[in-house]
Symmetry: C2
């Protein structure tokens, strides 16, 4: 348990908008970026929220590595497909508009696919997939990322944690929203164990010899994360292949950087991250109401299935995040003391002091 | 090591064609089904090859549970999408034609998606994804299947091993061909350990209480397979969510059976399996030659990455299967003695005796 201070979502959002604007981002783009960072904090994906305001975005804007007013170019376009060049702009605004155009194509043609090259970290992948939900479409969002994951039988970081996000509408049930890294855990989880002086479960990462290690420091220093599945006996090559597939679609197909060439916060060159979006109309295949009725019964069948001993509940992808978002929206977003301290320090330096009033405290 | 007898691929194929024809399948459909079963044996996916000729197909044709001359119906169609009803026909012919129509749509419109309901087991998912390769397209093939996998925190089989297959063309390198069950291992792997009296690695399956077990018999009797990832600490919910996603696309979106309703060889009702296919033109997004050049360099970068100690090689999805297919094509397809015995016995009963001459013997 750690002590956290609670903040009103609107206050954090307003602070982030002001910070982005101060760094030269046009107000509309600043609002989009802040909204998507806030969505991460609301859904409990702290690693992709306000904590990244400076490391992923602010510092790189200040250094000129992210163009605050990029020229976004159309490279190729058909009624169903679109390839964009983000002009080294902030990931969130170009990604949100790319998914909007993807949805518009799907509305006209049944489906749409949009790729983006020359972009930056776009926050949580699930945000863009979920944009399809109010349109009664199935949404897909993929991105590549800085190298952190070893291929099976490898010993160095060659691929990003390359997430796969898919959102599917339902009827009375909450939608199915999968938003998963193709690694077992994110690198931040290893850092948490390292700071706490705890061992990590065998299989999360390898050391610099490619051996599975339980020492987080060995993963962080010259080792790498393992892909979903872990060891070969547990079929970790499937997770590695999924990570590679995401890099093929976001890096190679989009014409962005791939594998070890994808930039990261610690490297002073444009990141050239690539994204891949798809939207699919449900009613191109069947009656929408029938689809939603069957989605409800599939999801309910899973939740009502017999539980393992000692387990009270079976979850559907996205369910925990929806519940947490409602809770955090009501109670306030919890920030660790060290995060608040960082925001205060970096806010002073950036010229937009962190002035959000706490609305409460809690143990989490 | 087990003793195997080697058979010429053409002989096995001819035997399967004659068997299917004898069971009432039109010759063109029989050729398709035999070709796809043979492709599994060539690629080393023995579990989906000639070994299933009677259990998955022959016996069910004889019982009238598979319609040998189905009326395949178009339910909905647009220039990019198509929803088919397979009329309880054999999975392979309808699936191959569905993917052909998917590719034709992609040729015209940049991409295509086709769903199929009311179908049967279609063999290896990868076969259909690979049909996109000669067209310079990316192919996707998914199917649901009989329940064998427990959801995370569950203790009964609720979902199939629901495979994901994706094929991507390259230049001088072999294509990327992922064809993975969303469970860690197939049920056949558990049976092999059980017969051999060996323990299974912890994480492959749960017993009837939902506890991870190393006893294969406990998985087979009232337990279930675990999804990719395994336990919750290893993020097995990601594999479970991928399996559920495949069921959403193949079961719910296609309008086929889903979850525990999907039929299986041991149940005397139509299986109502669903499939989902997609094809995407590479040149809708970038110049094809540039794409292939970058695919080559991505795949080479993976293969040349530093190896874990004691590991000579890093693989690309599909590489082992391509090599094995070439080898088996040249040397003959290896069948275990017990499989040959079964083919002889069932062949007599079905009225088409197994008369393929052995071309050699080996230890595998």
């Amino acid at each position: 348990m750690s002590r956290v201070t609670l903040y009103a979502p609107a206050d954090l959002q307003s602070f982030m908008v002001r910070t982005f604007c101060h760094l030269g981002i046009p107000e509309e783009d600043a609002r989009i970026a802040a909204e998507i960072l806030l969505a991460a904090d609301l859904r409990g994906v702290d690693s992709h929220g306000i904590i990244r305001l400076y490391t992923y975005y602010g510092n790189r804007l200040a250094k000129g590595l992210i163009d605050p007013r990029p020229e976004v170019k159309v490279l190729r376009e058909t009624p169903t497909t679109l390839a964009l060049d983000a002009g080294t702009g902030l990931g969130q605004p170009v990604a949100k508009r790319a998914m909007q155009r993807c949805i518009a194509k799907a509305r006209e043609s049944g489906m749409g696919v949009v790729t983006v090259r020359n972009s930056n970290h776009y926050g949580i992948a699930g945000y863009y997939a979920m944009m399809a939900l109010p349109e009664d479409m199935i949404g897909l969002s993929l991105t590549n990322a800085q190298p952190l994951v070893a291929p099976t039988y490898g010993r160095t970081a060659m691929l990003g944690t390359n997430p796969i996000a898919v959102a599917v509408p339902a009827g009375s049930q909450r939608p199915f929203v999968l938003d998963m890294a193709t690694s077992i855990v994110p690198i931040g989880r290893i850092t948490v164990y390292d700071k706490a002086g705890k061992e990590i479960p065998a299989g999360w990462g390898v050391d610099s010899h490619g051996k599975i290690t339980t020492h987080p420091a060995e993963v962080l220093k010259g080792g790498a994360l393992m892909a979903l599945g872990g060891s070969d006996i547990m079929r970790g090559y499937k997770g590695y292949s999924l990570a590679l597939l995401v890099d093929i679609l976001c890096g190679v197909l989009a014409g962005a950087a791939f594998a070890t060439q994808v930039g990261h916060p610690g490297v002073d060159r444009p990141a050239d991250v690539g994204h891949f979006f798809a939207a699919l109309r449900v009613d191109a295949f069947r009656d929408l109401d029938e689809f939603k009725r069957d989605m409800d019964s599939l999801l309910q069948e899973m939740k009502q299935a017999p539980k393992a001993e000692g387990q009270p509940r079976i979850f559907i992808a996205g369910e925990k995040e929806f519940e947490l978002a409602e809770y955090n929206h009501r109670e306030g977003i919890p920030l660790l003391d060290e995060v608040v301290k960082m925001l205060k320090k970096s806010g002073e330096e950036a010229g937009v002091p962190f002035d959000c009033p706490p609305v409460g405290e809690a143990e989490r």
